[in-house]
Amino acid sequence: MADVVKVFRTWSSPFALRVIWALQLKGVEYETIFEDITNKSPLLLQYNPTYKQVPVLVHNGKPILESLVILEYIEETWKENPLLPEDPYERATTRFWAKFGDDKLVPSVRGVLMTQGKEQEEGIPVVIETLKLIEEQLKGKKFFGGETIGFLDIALGWTANLMCVFEEVTGIKFLDAETFPLLSAWIENFSDVSVIKQNWPPRDKLVLKFQAAREKCLAEAATK
């Protein structure tokens, strides 16, 4: 029986993009269901009652949730183009940095994107320090996965297009080529991979979306 694979996503979700990239890299056919976050479908709420979020992967009717969990499921289910190393120690290291990206980089970037004045100023060194730790993981490598993209490239891949969107929205430069030569090269190489290139959401739409999100956040903070 043929596999039926569906992905619930939004046009902009960087976490959903991880799932798309992994499926396409492994040549898995899937159907996309675009969600409107302001008006979530009953099906999404049924599949993800805990978090009510995208992405959700549904494989033969069974839902898998949380993008990094979904990536591991995809890796275990479709064996073409393995994304994780075989060695348990290297797998642990990969998982550590993927978690680090989500636990540290995402909130630190959000901390600058959604604030202003002193609070924003204080947030910038945190982003820089976090990026420096990530940059070190690229030493001697083209991609985090080595010669080809792997699990960690996919987990951190959102930085390759969103960081410059955030830079435009805030007017702050995070990722300059002089301070981050390895990350800058990685962004170019990563963005050049066809599966990555063909799936970027439209940049101008992203800028507008995050500009609006920032304004809304600042307005809410001002009323407190």
Binding site: I64, T77, Y89
Partner: protein, 219 residues
């Protein structure tokens, strides 16, 4: 060559307890090193330079960090005994989802109940109970979260059982009254030697947490 396994830990840490339980489940011999978190050892700082946190598992000189990542590593390396994850990919994803849920939710709420006051405390307490109820729903009538087998979700959550007395005292709540199945599960897990030898006594934990709270509030 015999494996050399060292665990850098702090006795009341729920994250450290997860690793202790996993090592005990697999019958792995290891050296336990107690860390003083206000005076971290050079070894800890060398082995976990990024987060500077326990637990750290050092296996033949190589460090593995982050408790659930360590538990998965242990499961993958010592794979022939007491598997902590199901063999079916979908069930594995289901287990990892709930282990991740425990990771995302429980500690930060536990901290709120432990350290905060007023509205923040009230909110933390209510949300924590909400999480326990959700977890109890997921457990259902199963023996363990892993169904008949003690697995990664059990390993992720059981350390917080040693913090239940603190939750009840600080939160002025009865977990048994609101989540009887969860408490019954906790007691069942404690009947396993791998758990009872890895978790400290609830009153001992409470005393230490209250000491730390005094220091925290004094700052």
């Amino acid at each position: 060559m015999a494996d050399e396994v060292i665990l850098l830990d702090f006795w009341p840490s729920p994250f450290g307890m997860r690793v202790r339980v996993a090592l005990a489940e697999k019958g792995i011999e290891y050296e336990y090193k107690e860390e003083n978190l206000s005076d971290k050892s050079p070894l800890l700082l060398k082995m976990n330079p990024v987060k500077k946190q326990i637990p750290v598992l050092i296996h033949n000189g190589k460090p593995v960090c982050e408790s659930l990542i360590i538990v998965r590593y242990i499961d993958e390396v010592w794979k022939h005994k007491s598997p902590l994850l199901p063999s079916d990919a979908y069930q594995r994803a289901h287990a990892m989802f709930w282990a991740d849920y425990v990771d995302k939710k429980i500690y930060s709420l536990a901290r709120q109940v432990w350290l905060s006051s007023g509205e923040e405390h009230e909110a933390g307490k209510n949300e924590l109970m909400g999480c326990f109820k959700l977890l109890e729903g997921e457990l259902g009538d199963k023996t363990y979260f892993g169904d008949d087998t003690f697995g990664i979700v059990d390993v992720a959550l059981i350390p917080f059982y040693s913090w239940f007395y603190m939750f009840e005292q600080c939160g002025n709540m009865s977990i048994e009254a609101e989540c009887p199945k969860l408490v019954a599960w906790g007691k069942r897990c404690m009947e396993k030697e791998s758990v009872s030898k890895s978790l400290p006594d609830q009153h001992k934990v409470y005393d230490l947490l209250m000491d730390l709270k005094k220091k925290f509030l004094a700052k």
